[in-house]
């Protein structure tokens, strides 16, 4: 019975799934339609230039998603794209398509690409695609093309063979490592290193014995790459032999450094013993590389014993050593680290400050705060970062305790750290210091309050804003209050505390701050309050209300702003309201393009001067309608607006050409008759050319 019930349930669920997804299943397009869609897009892309709009990009990406899921469409698209890259499309268009052809090409593309490889004009593009085809036929085509290609293409093919790790090309590459052309021989050495097989390693070993000069070191470098490959392929013993041979051959320092790092990776020796052994060797030019290995020593090993066993290092290497040990959390080098931070070399100071974050504790707080207050630039940033990241509950307590007795500069840094360390228990302390006699202390306290305070603290934060002693402090408090309102959950009445105090505020500067915050919050319930302030007795407050409405997150204040722009005689209010009106219209998703145009057209009529008309024309350029295009063309008569009208024409036409190609074409032809701007004529002709191909 239970089984029967379960089966029925599964059946029902399956039926439900099929029914609910029926719509989606129906949306799968037939292959033929996908191919036709791609054909159309390729026609458009054939005229693409780097600096032109790619309005078709989203359509292209969507169709590629469909193609990846449809094997038949994949085949058809591969063929279309191959034809495209052989056509007279623009280089920018071809480059774009090559990138995508590379992701779908199969061995069927190889014959065409092979021919293209032979031609220096198309070789780069062909290589871009063929090197990504995993089928061995691609590698074979590349190898066969190599002797016939021009020098530049040969180098590119050799590099690609290396990237593909084309094992079959090892013998071919071996033959050309002694070529007189250094570009080709050096590429071959590097490619052999990238391929990294036993055979390649043997060839490179021989090459590094036979070759002389720089080529010898290049061969050795490539040989080291083979060793790196052996490590990746879990064959460290084989790699170690190579690393040791290179190291013992006394090559230049860069190769010995690479070799010793490789030996560290491949050896089964104790990592700390390895480092001690090599630090004791008399190799001053590679000591920094050996010291840097300390950063790689596993956390569970005691790297601190290196300090006991190593003596006689130069002062700089000793500092490097201390910093490396400290970065592992070994506090035994604390004193040495402090000396490094006081060193003359800024690199040591920076590294030391950074390492102190790892081994520091509450006793380092004042030292770091002092450094943060006296240093500048990157060093100051690192000192602050270390102060903010030293771990431990006692550190927070130490900061709070130290504030009271510190001098102003250090106190300022400590207060700043409260915000960045998120010491949420310090709200009362910060409220106290927001009234400190020193401005720097007050500023940092208010900023930190914005970071750590909670919505429950808003009444106190509002009081801080009201009592702000300078304009700067009030602006910081404004930001802080807004930040705290952002911590409220969605749907909460974020402006409630502000509205409560607003009727009691008479100082215009403070009123402006609160009105600005209401604008940032953008709660439609507050619109009536802001509308009241549009008629407030102080003109500055009226302006603040217009600014607040202009940044509203939706189109609700559109009519308010429009009415002000239409009716006010005050040029400042008019200009602010007009700008806000256009911004709100542009962002209003409920308006159709024609409705948007009507609003923009109206804004143009009420614009008071050329500057305002230019702002309106910016909005016009983002309106995709035939009427907008016609209006922009009409404005070519206005001498003072010609450049802006021309810009708007091109912006509208580029976007409109998708929805209304015929009308766009007709209007653009009119512009060709009217304009004397050669650049605009060229742009229009290009667009007309694209339209004719659609």
């Amino acid at each position: 019975m239970n089984i029967r019930k379960t089966n029925s349930l599964v059946l029902l669920l399956s039926l439900f799934f099929v029914l609910t997804n029926f719509h989606a299943l129906c949306q799968v397009r037939p292959t033929k339609d996908i191919i036709t869609g791609m054909e159309k897009l390729l026609t458009i892309i054939s005229g693409y230039e780097y600096d032109k709009s790619r309005v078709w990009l989203q359509d292209f990406q969507n169709i590629m998603q469909e193609i990846y899921k449809d094997p038949e469409a994949l085949k058809g698209t591969e063929k279309l794209m191959l034809q495209f890259i052989q056509s007279d499309a623009t280089p920018a268009g071809k480059q774009f398509i090559c990138k995508h052809l590379g992701t779908i090409a199969t061995k069927k593309s190889v014959p065409v690409l092979k021919v293209m490889l032979m031609d220096e004009n198309t070789a780069e593009m062909a290589l871009f695609v063929i090197e990504k085809i995993p089928d061995p036929a691609a590698g074979k085509a590349m190898r066969n093309s190599l002797p016939h290609a021009d020098e530049k293409t040969q180098v590119a093919i050799i590099n690609s063979l290396g990237i593909r790790r084309d094992v079959k090309s090892v013998n071919l590459l071996a033959k050309i490592i002694c070529e007189t052309n250094p570009l080709i021989s050096e590429s071959a050495l590097s490619a052999l290193g990238a391929i990294g097989t036993d055979e390649a390693a043997d060839i490179l070993k021989s090459a590094s014995n036979i070759l002389t000069g720089d080529k010898k070191w290049l061969a050795m470098d490539a040989w080291l790459k083979c060793a790196d490959r052996f490590v990746v392929d879990s064959n460290p013993a084989k790699a170690l032999i190579i690393y040791k041979e290179v190291f013992n051959a006394r090559p230049p320092a860069f190769l010995r450094k690479a070799a010793v790092k490789g030996m560290y990776t491949a050896t089964d020796e104790d990592p700390v013993d390895f480092i001690i052994k090599h630090l004791k060797s008399d190799e001053p030019d590679i000591l920094p590389a050996i010291i840097s290995l300390i950063y790689k020593v596993p956390e569970n090993l005691n790297a601190g014993r290196i300090l006991n066993e190593i003596t006689g290092l130069s002062e700089t290497d000793q500092l490097r050593l201390f910093i490396a040990i400290a970065s592992r959390g070994d506090r035994s080098v604390h004193q040495a680290l402090i000396e490094a931070i006081n060193n003359e070399d800024p690199e040591f100071r920076k590294a030391g400050l950074k390492a102190l974050a790892r081994i520091g504790n509450s006793s380092d707080i004042l030292f770091l705060a002092e450094k943060a207050s006296t240093l500048r630039g990157t060093e100051r940033d690192i000192a602050r970062e270390s102060l903010y990241t030293i771990s431990g509950q006692e550190v927070d307590q130490a900061i709070l305790s130290a504030i009271e007795h510190s001098d102003t500069k250090i106190k300022t840094e400590l207060i700043r750290s409260i915000g960045d360390r998120n010491i949420i228990s310090a709200t009362s302390l910060l409220l106290k210091y927001s009234e400190d006699p020193e401005q720097g202390v007050r500023v940092e306290s208010i900023e930190s309050l914005g970071k750590i305070a909670f919505p429950d603290d808003l009444p106190e934060m509002i009081r801080v804003l009201v009592n702000a002693q300078t304009e700067r402090e009030r602006k910081i408090a404004e930001t802080a209050v807004h930040l705290v309102t952002l911590k409220m959950p969605d749907g909460a009445y974020k402006s409630k505390d502000i509205l409560a105090i607003l009727p009691t505020v008479n100082d215009p500067a403070i009123l402006n701050s609160f009105i600005s915050i209401l604008g940032e919050i953008g709660d439609d319930r507050d619109l009536s309050v802001l509308r009241d302030y549009l008629d407030y007795e102080v003109p500055d407050v009226q302006l603040a209300a217009i600014r607040a409405l202009s940044v509203w997150p939706n189109a609700a204040p559109k009519e308010d702003l429009k009415t002000i722009a239409e009716t006010t005689e005050d040029p400042r209010k008019h200009s602010l309201a007009l700008r806000g009106y256009i911004t709100v219209v542009e962002a209003d998703n409920n308006l159709s393009e024609d409705q948007k145009f009507n609003e923009i057209r109206h804004a143009f009529d009420i614009a008071a001067n050329t500057d305002e008309q230019k702002i309106v024309l910016s909005g016009l350029g983002k309106t995709i309608s035939v009427e907008a295009l016609k209006f922009a063309i009409k404005l070519l008569d206005k001498k003072e607006l010609v450049p802006e009208a021309e810009a708007a024409i091109m912006l509208i036409a580029s976007d409109l050409s998708w929805a209304n190609p015929r009308e766009t074409r007709e209007e653009l032809k009119k512009v060709l008759q009217l304009t004397k701007n050669e650049e605009l004529k060229r742009d229009i002709e290009e667009l007309l050319d694209i339209l004719s191909k659609r």
Binding site: D381, E385, I615, E646
Partner: protein
């Protein structure tokens, strides 16, 4: 004789004016951070791109006593809080192109406004967006005004928004590639308290960055 006398008097006046000017002015010295990359990428396809700044870099002469009046002044930006860093980084004197030196603002058209706290005669504005990579920032507009809303008496010192997408008119200045030398813009001695710098994304992404802005001026009389 009288003519000769008048001629000599006129010449003398010109020479004295010239000497007074020459004595009053000094070459603007700006310290540049170390370069973060070498050369110009070949594939930077940007319309109206200036490629000869290194050859034609103008020398600025400013009155004696001119200094960076933007240092540590109040800065506001459009959009939400910065994505990376804070606005203080824009005028803290650190213009190195490394992590931690720049502020990242949101995407699309954004601007920062520097409040100099009183009016200054502005002779040059130096701006570094993000110079660790060869990038071009779009629609750069630099304006100054005594009006915080930039409505009246606005001077536009630089504008390469050639399609008027930001609404401040179609600019004719060239696009340029960011380097460690930033861009120095002639302030022409205009008087202003507020300086506004616009941008609209860059060749790598839609975001906006500022490493440092220096404003060279003297308190207005």
């Amino acid at each position: 004789m009288t003519r000769i006398f008048i001629f000599l008097a006129v010449c003398f006046s010109f020479i004295s004016v010239f000497f007074v000017r020459a004595q009053d002015l000094q070459r603007l010295e700006i310290s540049y951070p170390p370069p973060m990359y070498i050369g110009t990428p070949k594939d930077m396809e940007v319309e109206r791109l200036e490629r000869t700044w290194e050859l034609n870099r103008p020398v600025f002469y400013v009155p004696e006593g001119t200094y960076n009046v933007a240092r540590d002044k109040w800065i506001e930006s459009t959009g939400e809080e910065p994505v990376i860093g804070n606005l203080e980084l824009i005028n803290d004197g650190d213009k190195e192109g490394v992590e931690g030196s720049y502020v990242e603002l949101g995407s699309g058209h954004q601007y920062i406004t520097i409040d100099l706290e009183s009016s200054f005669n502005i002779y040059a504005i130096a701006v570094w967006h993000y110079h660790s990579k060869a990038r071009v920032y779009y629609d750069i507009i630099v304006q100054i005004s005594d009006d915080p809303d930039f409505i009246v008496d606005v001077q536009t010192l630089f504008n390469n928004d050639y399609d008027n997408s930001s609404g401040y008119g179609a600019g004719e200045d060239p696009n340029y590639i960011e380097t460690n030398e930033g861009r120095i813009i002639d302030g022409r001695g205009f008087q202003a308290r507020f300086v506004r710098l616009h941008s609209n994304g860059n060749t790598d992404n839609d975001l906006n960055h500022y490493t440092e802005v220096e404003i060279y001026g003297k308190p207005a009389d």
